[in-house]
Symmetry: C2
Subunit: 238 residues, 2 copies
DNA sequence: TTTCCAATAAAGGTATATAATTAGGGGATA
DNA sequence: TATCCCCTAATTATATACCTTTATTGGAAA
């Protein structure tokens, strides 16, 4: 029902009925989510028939979802055995952080060049919220707003592939994220680092933004590795 | 038939019958190869039945291979339409180089820290060959040995994920590689840059290695973007 | 009791069958 | 002649069936 009067549209509406998602996508997202929040634990076996039954679909979309999880590093395949939730060693975590430090420095530098005023304001609004949640010790909301903060920041780099790679790397260790920010004092420290970073970016100080981003990641790495090393010894985290 | 006499094995043979590869892997590699060397051209439609027939397999492994190609950015999916070989814009290429510059700098710096003497010697042996092929203007062999050179270099970073990401990014634009090294004078230039880089690494000069690697990638980018800009205008390369 | 072998079940790998959606063409009508 | 609609063919999406390999378990023999 469009009403009786035909109105001339200003623009052609980009009619995207892209709401449609294949089952494999839903399964993929569902499984990834479960792996990230440790509902599916490292080392756990993923059996196709069982997953298919649980989700009420056939094996085909489940298999296709697993293929994608495999490439993103969330599961490992053992030929003729099946898929297992990927374990991750301390070395793996260190490796990921090493890459993230470089890429987040790159992204922050690019953001300092390319960010718009609107985005900058948005970032600052986020900082206010981060502040609130930090005061309130609201860990859950903090993690959420923190993720959103970084999303805006990285998008400002105007490099979609970069955003995608960083996002993937962050997800890889987000399985242990709670451990990181839960360390006493880290929340306030991180907030300060974020503030400095935004300041450098708003000053369009590329080198400083890079430097701060890199150090920010390195700090997060040290905290996390420390606390993990205490929890577990060496070996794979399973 | 193991023969009549049982011989005591010196060592436990790491009995990996890992020679086995699922069909989906073979199909995956085959398709990726075809896309990289432009047998399958950007924008071309990939039809499952046809590919399956051509390769003498069923649709299932073909579909699974396509799922992986999708995640690696080699194909784009249009829901209910199928898969198309991914087109790539000049912006895309610039984005990829932007990331590569940062990551190859990182890898080279790490290599300067962690490379072994054996690996260094191996690199220098490769340089000799690069020299030969450059003199002989043997483009094909040059591309091959160049790839191998970089593989050794990046492995020396002792960061497998880093190696994997860089490899993927290189493959993404390898589809246009011929254009890059074919530019007159670039081959010699690249050789010189490689020599300097190896020198910096053998001196364990981390900062210099990073700097040289970054500039090397940036140079390659400029050459390639220039020559592509002449060939095509704007728009997707199809 | 322990070890080895065989039978069997269970799971992944592959192929095929069915459903659903889309593109395209041809004909009818204005 | 042009436009609109319906029908058909083709293709993807999903489900199911079949094949192959591996792990397990129970029993027989040493």
């Amino acid at each position: 029902m469009r009403g009786g009067v035909v109105v001339l549209e200003k623009k052609m509406i980009p009619v995207k009925l892209d709401n449609y998602k294949p089952l494999r996508e839903l399964v993929f997202e569902s499984l990834r989510e479960a792996i990230i929040n440790a509902t599916l634990k490292p080392g756990e076996r993923l059996m196709e028939v069982q997953l298919a039954e649980d989700m009420g679909v056939s094996r085909t979309p489940v298999r296709e979802a697993i293929r994608k999880l495999e490439l993103e590093g969330f599961v490992v395949m053992v030929p003729r055995k099946g898929a297992y939730v990927a374990g991750i060693s301390l070395k793996d975590i260190a490796d990921v952080y090493e890459i993230r430090a470089a890429l987040e420095a790159l992204a922050s530098g690019l953001a300092a060049e390319r960010i718009t005023e609107e985005e900058l304001e948005d970032l600052e609004r986020h900082l206010v919220k981060v502040n609130e949640y930090t005061e309130a010790q609201n860990l859950h909301s903090l993690v959420e707003i923190d993720t959103s903060f970084h999303d805006i920041l990285y998008k400002a780099s105007r490099n979609e592939r970069l955003v995608q790679i960083i996002s993937n790397l962050r997800e890889q260790i987000m399985r242990f994220r709670t451990t990181s920010l839960a360390v006493p004092g880290r929340m306030k420290e991180a907030l300060l680092e974020h503030k400095e970073l935004v300041e450098a970016i708003s000053e369009r100080n590329i080198a400083k933004a890079q430097e701060l981003a890199q150090r920010h990641v390195e700090n997060a790495e040290n905290i996390m590795l420390d606390s993990l090393q205490k929890q577990f010894g060496e070996g794979k985290l399973k």
